[in-house]
Symmetry: C2
Amino acid sequence: MRNTVGWQVEGPSPALRRTPLERRDLRPDDLAVRVDYCGVCHTDLHAVGSWDDAGGRRLVPGHEFTGVVTDTGPAVTRFAVGAPVAVGNIVDSCGECAMCRAGQENFCHAFPTLTYDGTDRHDGLATLGGYSREYVVRDRFAHPLPAGLDPAAAAPLLCAGVTVWEPLHALGVGPGTRVAVAGLGGLGHLAVKIAVALGAHTSVVSRSPDKADDARRLGAHGLIVSTDPEQMADARDRFDVVIDTISVPHDLGPYLRLVAMDGTLSHLGHLGPVTVETLDLLIGRKKLSSAGSGGMPAMAAMLDFCAEHGITADIELLPSARVNEALDRLRRGDVRYRFVLDMSDLD
Amino acid sequence: MRNTVGWQVEGPSPALRRTPLERRDLRPDDLAVRVDYCGVCHTDLHAVGSWDDAGGRRLVPGHEFTGVVTDTGPAVTRFAVGAPVAVGNIVDSCGECAMCRAGQENFCHAFPTLTYDGTDRHDGLATLGGYSREYVVRDRFAHPLPAGLDPAAAAPLLCAGVTVWEPLHALGVGPGTRVAVAGLGGLGHLAVKIAVALGAHTSVVSRSPDKADDARRLGAHGLIVSTDPEQMADARDRFDVVIDTISVPHDLGPYLRLVAMDGTLSHLGHLGPVTVETLDLLIGRKKLSSAGSGGMPAMAAMLDFCAEHGITADIELLPSARVNEALDRLRRGDVRYRFVLDMSDLD
């Protein structure tokens, strides 16, 4: 085994502690990656908050990170030592089902191996995430980090970025499409940047009128204040695509009513059950969809697009020793727009 | 006022009674229609079952009927006395909003006037439905009944038919599309006929294995028994479009899992809230939609298509005096596949 160190939830406290970790010895198609930067995703917050270490399981969060290849197995051809690399929220899949064959490994029928809190499909061990100094990953699930993308600010593209890229791309967003992005957080601010770069007429929907300047700075054409009934009524039926990134359960009705005839609300901000009134779909023949993560081809296409358009996340970079502060502030919504942990303090 | 007779819910009992009714005198753009045949829709059952006559309101159900024009207002040019005619579930709309201008009067922003239990937008009176011998309707909301369609069996096209036509058409169903129809009732059997005529590879999903012969007779390529986990697992991710016509609240999860990547579940069978697991949408990037009724252009297109392909409903024709028996049997699901009332016994 390879020795490294990371931030692990320990015992009943949600506080993460610096802990020695082991990584597997390289299989023929594995890379060892020195993790330089790891984004702090809402999923990490949920995982830490609901963690139960029954059965001696361990939790090391982190599933959007960038770094440098430090070692390769003998079958690896796509990466050489020293190459900049990026990893998202899945690190393996069956490779044989229809979804894997279609390049949608995120929808693998046998369920993809998650970057953390998953179970490796070969050795059966729990996967430990990117809040650590080294990660060992199968080459097919690592991505070359395109030149020109700042590796710290690019880390959130690997989860937040592809999660908004997938629906924007699948729904054919392009010049002339009217897009509304509800919620201006980690997902939302990247949705705005990508939608604008795709040529869409893009608006932000937010409870906070004070996000108007930020919305404009990100390239949006306007802000709709969701608590203002008049503004919401004016915006009714106006958007071909509504990207709902609000990270807490909420009534989808007001957002479905913004969708134009035959348009789609893509509900991305949280998992779990959602309830909609059939009439909110029926009237205007609207659609509800969701998305999360992406397949390997989508990851590659998203990274290329972001490199071409100079898109990265707006981040607050913290030494990884401040991970608990980052999680606390994320819980309170106090971040514009994504925390990224600098792992060099683990050396 | 014009005098006619119909079947009305009276007092606290759900039983309908034969009652004299008045219709308005013809406005310039009105038709008087002798109602010959009126279908019995699930909506009628809900309306009768939940009826509360507070405020002296009256309920005469019926919103899919055919008949013959008996009189016309002076501004009517599309219909002459003696013309066969068909009316669906809406009889007026604002005519000015974006939806009305787009020919989607069923989505009128000011809400369309319902054929029964609505409020006429000119005289403010409650609308009374097609379980009666005469109806007075604005010409724009009546449809010429195409030659060759049996007027009794065509009546259900005006609600059930257009409700399944709309999503099949909007979702681009055609040769090669894989369609599953869940629930083989009034809506479902018409969905099968129309999907087959559109060229789709069409399957039925039903709890009842004994519907296999009917499914084949309607043109379906097969039956999937929804209570057989193996059959449902085999059918996973196999359908571009699932038309869910099940008329009672049910878990959409098993039906969403039949939808192929980027496909759509159209939930038609009942109104009210529906709850879905986000993961059932997320995995495979699936969409949930709904539909109900149609705009006037869709009604006309659906009637032309049905005439061209010889599609009508499979009906059980009863004298209107047996309306209570029809409602009782519909409540128990004892109909293949739509009751139609013959109104000639009201003379």
